[in-house]
Amino acid sequence: MSQNQHPYEPLDESVKNKIAFNQGNDRLKAWLALMCKIRAFEEKAEELYTLGKIHGTMHLSIGMEASAVGAIMALDPNDLILSTHRGHGHCIAKGADLGLMMAEFLGKECGYCRGRGGSMHIADVEGGNFGANGVVAGGIPLAVGVGLGLRMQRTDKVIMCFFGDGAANSGPFHEALNMAAIYNLPAVFICENNQYAMSFPYKKAFKVARIADRAAGYGMPGVTVDGNDIFAVYSAACNAVDHARNNGGPFLIENVTYRWRGHSKSDANRYRTKDEIDEWKQKDPIQRLMAYMVDSERLSADDAEKVQQEAYDSIDVAVTYAESCAEPALDTIEEGVYA
C-alpha cells in the first residue's frame, strides 16, 4: 500500500513557522521532551513486559506521539480527556506522573488505579484524564455525558475524546457524535487513524476517503491532518478547542498516523509488510520535530541528544520508584466495587 495517498493537506510551512515562533523554543523543547518520554516509557514498558514484570497485555502507541502531544497541548490544564486502550501517550501528555503510571503497570498499590486497572484502564482523574478504555469506542458515549455535565455546571472546560479508526465504524461513534452535535457540546473528537483496526486496514473498512468526512453527516466540522506532524495536529486541535470552548459545538479531527508495533502483544504482524512499517518509520514524528528544531536552529544537536537522554533517565527513575512500591494487600481486594 502506498503511503502517499493520504487525503490531507500538508501544513503550510509558514503556518508551521508561525506556530513555532509563537510557542517559543522552550515550549517546543517541552513538546519534544514529552514525545520522547512517551517513546521511552513505552519502550521500557515493552521491555518489562518481555521480562515478565508486566502482566496481561498492552497496546503501544510508538510512532503516534505527535497525535497525543499535539492535541493535548491545545488544551488548558483544567480541560478533560477520554483516552483509549492505546492511551499511554494521552496519559503522559495530560501530565501524569511517570512513577505512578509505571507503578500501575507493575500492578502496585501506589499506581494510579491501585493496581486494579493496569495499562488498559489507566486513569488520572485528578489530572483530568477520565481513563483509557478497554472497549473500542467505549469512551465516545462518555464524552456526551461529560460534555453535558460541563455545560450544566457553566464551566468553560472542553472534553477531548480520543479513539481510533476502528471505533469510527462502531455504533457508539454514531450515537455519540450525533448527540454531541445536537446538544452543541464542548467536545473535541480526535480520531487517531493508525491505519489498522487490529488487522483490518482502514482502506478496506471505509468507503469514504477521510474519516473526518463523516463529521458532515452530524453537522459538525471535520478535518483530516498529518498526524505525524505535531504542528499540523496542534494547529487543528487549537482551532477545534477554540470552537468547542466558544459554544461552537463539537469538532472531529482525524490524525493520520501509524503504529509501529503490533495491535497488542499477541500481534504477529501477518497483515502488513516490514517494508510498510519501515516506510512509516521514515516519518517518525519525534525525528521530524527534532530535525525541524535543529535545522531552524531552535535547538542544538547536543541539546536534542540531551532531551532524549533525559527522557530515558526519567523512565529509569519511574521504574525504580514503581518497583519500590508495595503490592496491593489482599484484604483490600474488594475495595472500590461500590462507593
Binding site: A123, G149, M179, V337
Partner: protein
C-alpha cells in the same frame, strides 16, 4: 401529609422533588420531554425544569447510558430512562463495562452516581421485544445496584435514595404497577437500598417476591388465609444489594419457601435466592424443598391468553402455595 397516588405519580414526584432539591439532577431519555415518556412518567417536568434538565434524545440507548455515566463522572446526578427494559440490550456496553466498572478499575478514585430507569414486565400485549424482565443480567454485574419496587410508597422512597446513592443504580419499574394506588407522603423521604420488607406477616410459609409479583402474592395470601394457610410475603425491594438477613429470618420462622418472579426461571433471580437460603442457617429449618414459581423459559407471546399463562398469576401462586403448605417433612 399522606394521600393516595399511583405508582407512576410517585415516580414522577420523586423525580420532581429531587430536581427541586438538587440542581445536579437531570433527566435524559427518549421522548421524556413534552411527550412525557412512553408511559407518561415525566409528563410536565419539562415545563417545570426546562429543556436543559429534561433532555429528549434521539433513538440512542447506548448514547443515553454514556450520557448518564459521563455526566456522573463530572459530579452530576443524572437519571436516564430506557423506554422498555428490552432496549437496555442496546445500552448494556456502557452500563456493564463503563458505569459499573469505572470506580473499581480506577482504584476507587472516581464515582458514578447515576440512575437508569426502565419499565419491566408483560401483560400489555406488546409481545416478545417489549415485555422482558432482564433484572438478573444486571444483578450479575458487580458495581451496579438493582432496585425493583412493588408499591407507590416504596417506589418514591427508593427512587429518591437511588438518585442520592453514589453508585450506578438500575431502577426497574413494574409496568402493570404504574396505575396501582397507595398511600404516599407528600414530603420527600428515602428508603435505604438493600432493605427488604415483610409485606405480610405469616407463620406457615414464606413467599419471596418483588415488583408485580408482590401484588399477586399479596392477593394470593388473602385467598390462602381463607383456607387457613398463613403466608408471609417478603419483598427484597432491592435485588442488589440483597437483604439476606430478612429473608433468612423469615425462612427460619416458616420453614417453607416459595420464590415468585416474572422473569424466566432458568438463570433467574430465584436461583440466587434459593442459593442464599441453602447456604444459610435457614437450610436446617427447611421442612420442604425450596420452590420457584417463575416465568416460563420462553419469549412473551402476543396472544392474550398465551401471554397470561406465560408468567405467574395469582391462581398459580395460590396453587403452588397450597402444594407447599401440604407437603410434609
Amino acid at each position: 401529609m399522606t394521600r393516595e397516588i399511583t405508582y407512576l405519580e410517585a415516580v414522577r414526584e420523586a423525580l420532581r422533588q429531587e430536581m427541586q432539591r438538587d440542581e445536579r439532577v437531570f433527566i435524559i431519555g427518549e421522548d421524556v420531554g413534552v411527550y412525557g415518556g412512553a408511559f407518561g412518567v415525566t409528563l410536565g417536568l419539562i415545563q417545570e425544569f426546562g429543556e436543559e434538565r429534561v433532555i429528549d434524545t434521539p433513538i440512542s440507548e447506548l448514547g443515553i447510558a454514556g450520557a448518564i455515566t459521563g455526566a456522573a463522572l463530572t459530579g452530576m446526578r443524572p437519571v436516564g430512562e430506557i423506554m422498555f427494559m428490552d432496549f437496555i440490550t442496546l445500552a448494556s456496553e456502557q452500563l456493564v463495562n463503563q458505569a459499573a466498572k469505572i470506580r473499581f478499575m480506577f482504584g476507587g478514585k472516581a464515582k458514578v452516581p447515576c440512575v437508569m430507569r426502565a419499565p419491566i414486565g408483560s401483560g400489555t400485549g406488546a409481545a416478545g421485544q417489549h415485555s422482558q424482565s432482564l433484572e438478573n443480567w444486571f444483578v450479575h454485574i458487580p458495581g451496579i445496584k438493582v432496585v425493583a419496587p412493588s408499591t407507590p410508597y416504596d417506589v418514591k422512597g427508593l427512587l429518591i435514595q437511588s438518585i442520592r446513592d453514589d453508585n450506578p443504580v438500575l431502577f426497574l419499574e413494574g409496568k402493570l404497577l404504574y396505575k396501582t394506588k397507595g398511600e404516599v407522603p407528600e414530603e420527600p423521604y428515602t428508603i435505604p437500598l438493600g432493605k427488604a420488607e415483610v409485606k405480610r406477616s405469616g407463620r406457615d410459609l414464606t413467599i419471596i417476591a418483588y415488583s408485580i409479583m408482590v401484588k399477586r402474592a399479596m392477593e394470593a395470601a388473602e385467598q390462602l388465609a381463607k383456607e387457613g394457610i398463613d403466608v408471609e410475603v417478603v419483598d427484597p425491594r432491592t435485588l442488589k444489594p440483597l437483604d439476606t438477613d430478612k429473608i433468612i429470618q423469615s425462612v427460619i420462622k416458616t420453614g417453607k419457601v416459595l420464590i415468585v418472579h416474572e422473569a424466566c426461571k432458568t438463570g433467574g433471580f430465584g436461583g440466587e435466592l434459593a442459593g442464599v437460603i441453602s447456604e444459610s442457617e435457614a437450610f436446617d429449618y427447611l421442612d420442604t424443598p425450596i420452590v420457584r414459581l417463575a416465568g416460563r423459559d420462553m419469549p412473551i407471546p402476543y396472544n392474550r391468553n398465551l401471554e397470561y399463562h406465560t408468567v405467574p398469576q395469582v391462581e398459580n401462586i395460590v396453587e403452588a402455595a397450597q402444594k407447599l403448605a401440604r407437603l410434609e417433612v
